[in-house]
Symmetry: C2
Subunit: 101 residues, 2 copies
Protein backbone atom coordinates (compact mmCIF):
# COMPACT_ATOMS: atom_id res chain seq x y z
CA UNK A 1 0.00 0.00 0.00
CA UNK A 2 0.92 3.57 -0.40
CA UNK A 3 0.02 4.47 3.16
CA UNK A 4 2.36 1.73 4.28
CA UNK A 5 5.20 4.20 4.27
CA UNK A 6 5.20 5.76 7.73
CA UNK A 7 5.13 9.49 7.93
CA UNK A 8 8.40 10.71 9.41
CA UNK A 9 8.11 12.04 12.92
CA UNK A 10 10.27 15.08 12.33
CA UNK A 11 11.15 16.46 8.94
CA UNK A 12 14.83 16.10 8.14
CA UNK A 13 16.43 18.94 6.24
CA UNK A 14 18.72 16.71 4.24
CA UNK A 15 15.93 14.31 3.32
CA UNK A 16 13.65 17.14 2.22
CA UNK A 17 16.37 18.81 0.17
CA UNK A 18 17.36 15.51 -1.41
CA UNK A 19 13.73 14.83 -2.25
CA UNK A 20 13.37 18.22 -3.92
CA UNK A 21 16.75 18.09 -5.67
CA UNK A 22 15.48 16.03 -8.59
CA UNK A 23 13.89 17.44 -11.75
CA UNK A 24 11.07 14.90 -11.87
CA UNK A 25 10.20 15.13 -8.18
CA UNK A 26 10.43 18.90 -8.11
CA UNK A 27 8.03 18.98 -11.03
CA UNK A 28 5.61 16.71 -9.20
CA UNK A 29 5.69 19.01 -6.21
CA UNK A 30 5.24 21.99 -8.49
CA UNK A 31 2.10 20.45 -9.97
CA UNK A 32 0.76 19.63 -6.51
CA UNK A 33 1.47 23.18 -5.44
CA UNK A 34 -0.21 24.76 -8.44
CA UNK A 35 -3.49 22.92 -8.18
CA UNK A 36 -3.54 22.62 -4.39
CA UNK A 37 -5.87 19.64 -4.68
CA UNK A 38 -5.24 15.93 -4.26
CA UNK A 39 -3.89 14.34 -7.43
CA UNK A 40 -3.84 10.65 -8.23
CA UNK A 41 -0.46 9.18 -9.17
CA UNK A 42 -1.51 8.53 -12.73
CA UNK A 43 -2.78 12.05 -13.32
CA UNK A 44 0.54 13.81 -13.20
CA UNK A 45 2.10 15.29 -16.28
CA UNK A 46 5.33 13.37 -16.68
CA UNK A 47 7.18 11.23 -19.17
CA UNK A 48 8.73 8.65 -16.87
CA UNK A 49 7.49 5.08 -16.49
CA UNK A 50 4.94 4.40 -13.80
CA UNK A 51 7.37 2.30 -11.80
CA UNK A 52 9.78 5.20 -11.80
CA UNK A 53 6.96 7.48 -10.78
CA UNK A 54 6.06 5.19 -7.90
CA UNK A 55 9.65 5.26 -6.72
CA UNK A 56 9.69 9.06 -6.77
CA UNK A 57 6.46 9.18 -4.79
CA UNK A 58 7.97 6.86 -2.24
CA UNK A 59 10.95 9.18 -1.88
CA UNK A 60 8.73 12.21 -1.44
CA UNK A 61 6.57 10.33 1.05
CA UNK A 62 9.50 9.14 3.14
CA UNK A 63 10.86 12.67 3.24
CA UNK A 64 7.51 13.89 4.50
CA UNK A 65 6.95 16.18 1.55
CA UNK A 66 3.72 14.58 0.40
CA UNK A 67 1.03 12.41 1.94
CA UNK A 68 -0.89 9.67 0.20
CA UNK A 69 -4.29 8.37 1.20
CA UNK A 70 -6.22 5.75 -0.69
CA UNK A 71 -9.65 6.63 -1.87
CA UNK A 72 -11.60 4.41 -4.18
CA UNK A 73 -9.37 2.70 -6.67
CA UNK A 74 -6.68 5.33 -6.65
CA UNK A 75 -4.08 6.90 -4.41
CA UNK A 76 -4.55 10.60 -3.84
CA UNK A 77 -1.45 12.64 -3.15
CA UNK A 78 -1.40 15.89 -1.27
CA UNK A 79 1.38 18.30 -0.47
CA UNK A 80 2.12 18.49 3.26
CA UNK A 81 2.25 22.25 3.14
CA UNK A 82 1.46 22.79 6.81
CA UNK A 83 4.18 20.49 8.09
CA UNK A 84 6.71 21.86 5.62
CA UNK A 85 5.82 25.41 6.57
CA UNK A 86 6.13 24.55 10.24
CA UNK A 87 9.59 23.05 9.87
CA UNK A 88 10.99 25.23 7.10
CA UNK A 89 8.86 28.34 6.72
CA UNK A 90 9.08 29.83 3.27
CA UNK A 91 11.08 26.98 1.77
CA UNK A 92 8.71 26.11 -1.07
CA UNK A 93 8.02 29.76 -1.71
CA UNK A 94 11.74 30.39 -2.06
CA UNK A 95 12.20 27.46 -4.39
CA UNK A 96 9.21 28.03 -6.66
CA UNK A 97 9.31 31.76 -6.86
CA UNK A 98 11.77 31.41 -9.72
CA UNK A 99 11.74 27.70 -10.32
CA UNK A 100 10.81 27.02 -13.90
CA UNK A 101 11.72 23.73 -15.54
Amino acid sequence: MASHTPVPAALDVIAVLQALADPVRLDLVRQLRETDTAIACGRFDTRVAKSTLSHHFKTLREAGVIATHREGGQALNTLRSAELEASFPGLLDAIFRRAHS
Copy 2:
Protein backbone atom coordinates in the same frame (compact mmCIF):
# COMPACT_ATOMS: atom_id res chain seq x y z
CA MET B 1 43.18 26.71 -9.11
CA ALA B 2 40.09 27.39 -7.16
CA SER B 3 39.06 30.38 -9.21
CA HIS B 4 39.31 28.23 -12.29
CA THR B 5 35.74 27.09 -11.82
CA PRO B 6 33.58 29.59 -13.66
CA VAL B 7 30.74 31.17 -11.80
CA PRO B 8 27.43 29.99 -13.29
CA ALA B 9 25.55 32.64 -15.23
CA ALA B 10 22.17 31.86 -13.74
CA LEU B 11 21.59 29.87 -10.60
CA ASP B 12 19.89 26.56 -11.27
CA VAL B 13 17.39 25.39 -8.69
CA ILE B 14 18.27 21.75 -9.04
CA ALA B 15 22.00 22.41 -8.81
CA VAL B 16 21.58 24.59 -5.72
CA LEU B 17 19.33 22.06 -4.00
CA GLN B 18 21.65 19.20 -4.87
CA ALA B 19 24.57 21.19 -3.51
CA LEU B 20 22.76 21.82 -0.24
CA ALA B 21 21.35 18.29 0.05
CA ASP B 22 24.52 16.86 1.56
CA PRO B 23 25.34 16.82 5.28
CA VAL B 24 28.94 17.89 4.82
CA ARG B 25 28.21 20.67 2.34
CA LEU B 26 25.23 21.97 4.29
CA ASP B 27 27.45 22.15 7.32
CA LEU B 28 30.06 24.11 5.39
CA VAL B 29 27.41 26.58 4.28
CA ARG B 30 26.13 26.78 7.84
CA GLN B 31 29.59 27.72 9.08
CA LEU B 32 29.99 30.31 6.35
CA ARG B 33 26.59 31.71 7.23
CA GLU B 34 27.31 31.91 10.94
CA THR B 35 30.54 33.81 10.71
CA ASP B 36 29.70 35.82 7.60
CA THR B 37 33.41 36.25 6.91
CA ALA B 38 35.67 34.62 4.38
CA ILE B 39 36.98 31.27 5.59
CA ALA B 40 39.96 29.39 4.19
CA CYS B 41 39.31 25.82 3.08
CA GLY B 42 41.44 24.38 5.83
CA ARG B 43 39.74 26.33 8.60
CA PHE B 44 36.41 24.56 8.45
CA ASP B 45 35.28 22.27 11.21
CA THR B 46 34.91 18.92 9.49
CA ARG B 47 36.12 15.35 9.66
CA VAL B 48 36.45 14.52 6.00
CA ALA B 49 39.73 14.27 4.11
CA LYS B 50 41.00 17.39 2.44
CA SER B 51 40.54 15.90 -1.02
CA THR B 52 36.93 15.22 -0.19
CA LEU B 53 36.61 18.74 1.14
CA SER B 54 38.04 20.13 -2.08
CA HIS B 55 35.49 18.14 -4.04
CA HIS B 56 32.64 19.54 -1.94
CA PHE B 57 33.91 23.09 -2.45
CA LYS B 58 33.99 22.47 -6.17
CA THR B 59 30.38 21.33 -6.08
CA LEU B 60 29.30 24.37 -4.08
CA ARG B 61 31.27 26.63 -6.42
CA GLU B 62 29.77 25.14 -9.57
CA ALA B 63 26.29 25.53 -8.14
CA GLY B 64 27.03 29.19 -7.43
CA VAL B 65 26.50 28.84 -3.71
CA ILE B 66 29.97 29.99 -2.72
CA ALA B 67 32.74 32.01 -4.30
CA THR B 68 36.45 31.44 -3.84
CA HIS B 69 39.16 34.04 -4.30
CA ARG B 70 42.82 33.44 -3.67
CA GLU B 71 44.55 35.71 -1.24
CA GLY B 72 48.06 35.06 -0.08
CA GLY B 73 48.73 31.38 0.32
CA GLN B 74 45.16 30.37 0.93
CA ALA B 75 41.77 30.28 -0.77
CA LEU B 76 39.11 32.33 0.93
CA ASN B 77 35.53 31.16 0.57
CA THR B 78 32.52 33.39 0.84
CA LEU B 79 28.83 32.67 0.67
CA ARG B 80 27.16 34.24 -2.35
CA SER B 81 24.30 35.51 -0.23
CA ALA B 82 23.28 38.31 -2.57
CA GLU B 83 23.00 36.10 -5.64
CA LEU B 84 21.18 33.41 -3.71
CA GLU B 85 18.79 35.92 -2.25
CA ALA B 86 18.18 37.38 -5.68
CA SER B 87 17.32 34.04 -7.23
CA PHE B 88 15.67 32.31 -4.30
CA PRO B 89 14.74 34.86 -1.67
CA GLY B 90 14.51 33.35 1.79
CA LEU B 91 15.89 29.97 0.81
CA LEU B 92 18.80 29.84 3.23
CA ASP B 93 16.67 31.38 5.96
CA ALA B 94 14.07 28.66 5.47
CA ILE B 95 16.70 25.93 5.55
CA PHE B 96 18.71 27.12 8.53
CA ARG B 97 15.91 28.35 10.69
CA ARG B 98 15.59 24.81 12.01
CA ALA B 99 18.69 23.20 10.59
CA HIS B 100 20.72 22.11 13.57
CA SER B 101 23.45 20.17 11.79
